[in-house]
Point group: C2
Chain length 342, copies 2
């Protein structure tokens, strides 16, 4: 896992180059369509959440995440003739996702497959195969394949966008990802704080929400401790009542954007309720509002999630080792995800 964390800058660069090569085909697939529907599970689903927010906020195109059982179990006949369906699966072999993509194509959707294997069924059956260039990923917890998915989805949005603004931001990403691969500031203290806490949750909002869910999933599956990933709103609408001493709240944020200020408020509120806040990313006001702080990327919010995951991966990997666990091969997980046992 540690070695693969260090390969992410290169994976992002190569993946963005691949998206550029496919730009014409991506634009052709979207032509005349008005909606983007993401199909994914697990870590890929967390990447798709970023894709959804980026598409809505930067392209002004309505986007959503498919409910796979509508296809696989209810076999509903939706009209998808105005939809571009973007399926995301590291292996490209998750049966459920392949089945949903087939279903969508049969209902009129154009299909883009984001996978790490150009020979997978998901890729070969799609209209456009956007192959992430992460290389073989040996550790079970996704790191570089996840970052490459984020890059592919951001590249997809940049391709569908009329201008060059998003591409200009993306050009800054590989350097920041590479820099963060070996950034150690605050990591050891964060690991110690997480290890000492009785309960953990991870929260984030908007473009960073998927990152918060991914960090919660990684902490849970790698460290074998229950960790909740909650949106800012869901946390405010109920569960905040159970926040108190013994809880470490990991708060993820970009260094700018319209949600930074509410996130800083949330950090104050959580602290006021007795929780210990560990901020990853954000700016100096978030750092000041938090007991622990690990710096994130120097990137604007639109592309920040591609770098923001890196310090969290370092924390997860280090925490697993501290707990005497093997971060490369957590108990009870396999590389190709299966929703329904076959």
């Amino acid at each position: 896992m540690r070695r693969e964390i260090a390969e992410q800058g290169a994976a992002v660069t190569a993946t963005l180059d691949e998206v550029r090569r496919q730009a014409e085909r991506v634009r052709a697939a979207m032509s005349g369509r008005r909606h983007i529907l993401f199909v994914a599970r697990g870590s890929s689903d967390n990447a798709a959440i970023y894709g959804r927010y980026l598409v809505e906020t930067h392209l002004g195109v309505q986007a959503s995440l498919a409910a796979p059982s509508v296809a696989t179990h209810y076999r509903a006949r939706l009209d998808l003739s105005d939809a571009l369906v973007v399926s995301v699966s590291q292996s490209g072999r998750t049966e459920e996702i392949v089945e949903v993509q087939r279903w969508a194509a049969s209902l009129g959707a154009a299909t883009v497959a984001v996978s790490n294997d150009a020979d997978s069924p998901l890729a070969t059956e799609s209209d456009v195969a956007l192959t992430t260039q992460a290389g073989t990923e040996r550790a079970v917890p996704a790191t570089k394949s996840y970052t490459a998915q984020l890059a592919a989805l951001a590249g997809l949005a940049a391709t569908l966008d009329g201008g060059d603004d998003l591409w200009a931001l993306l050009d800054r990403v590989p350097g920041e990802v590479s820099r963060l691969e070996s950034a150690e500031e605050g990591v050891a203290a964060a690991v110690e704080a997480l290890d000492a806490s009785e309960e953990r949750l991870v929260t984030g909002r908007g473009l960073v929400f998927g990152t918060a869910l991914e960090v919660a999933l990684k902490l849970e599956e790698t460290c074998l401790q229950p960790v909740r990933g909650l949106s800012y709103a869901d946390l405010r609408h109920g569960p905040i009542a159970v926040v108190g001493p013994g809880l470490t709240a990991v708060v993820m944020a970009a260094e700018d954007g319209p949600l930074l200020s509410p996130i800083v408020e949330l950090a104050h509120d959580l602290t006021g309720r007795g929780a210990q806040v560990l901020a990853i990313g954000g700016d100096e006001t978030l750092a000041a509002a938090s007991a622990y702080h690990v710096p994130g990327p120097d990137l604007p919010e639109a592309v920040a999630p591609i770098g923001l995951i890196v310090p969290a991966q370092l924390i997860v990997e280090s925490l697993a080792r501290r707990l005497g666990l093997d971060p490369d091969s957590p108990r009870g997980l396999s590389k190709v995800t299966t929703t329904d046992p076959t």
Copy 2:
């Protein structure tokens, strides 16, 4: 809370009558539109998840849940000219939801407001106000207003459906809801089991997924204990690795439908990992696969969620009292939800 649980059969009947009265206006609002976008937070969001599955599986219309911050913070300009936006808020006064409805209308959407107050801003500013007939709800945890929301959303789907099938199913609902209001079978044992467990999670899938999230939220906010609500798929894709002894998994299911069999498998799997399964609803095979069982409604899956929540409410109310807490007024919650403090 207990008294309001007992008022739900009447609330559902009156709400379905109200939807019938608005049928022509609902059909006119949808006319020429191809998508339904739900806007909600908290319990209303859980009701909207049911609405989304019902609309996709029974109407064949693509549906999704809005990400409110796309409107309220990013102020994205989406093209919503082919969308019907259905906003759900008990009070009709949740600022965030009112703001998203205004935003959607300015972008070309037709709007239906499902609220319990015909004079609320959400209702008065909408194209069609579908007012739930729950009467004043005094307890902070939503019970009858939630059930009435489910009924309104099912009535909306039945209205937009060409045939009478869904209305025929809905005619059976009030009787089952009323019957379950005083059904005690299995409740005391379930409360004891939940009280004795170290950890709790609630899971469900498809049409019942929103019910699982609602039960988790109710358990958490009323009993002040952390409870996770997880989709079947999210549970299988990671967190199942942390399932073990000391955990009570509440498994929610309808008595039929394509997801019953996978849910029974899941109950076996959870039991095999040492967890204690409490099934609410389902059939005799689910009961046999579970350590504890509380019967659900005798209703087909499409409308089962409207009844399935009732035994869970009885469990929550009873558990709160057992814990010495006031189920009517949990700590840290208020009746009108606020995402961003003003």
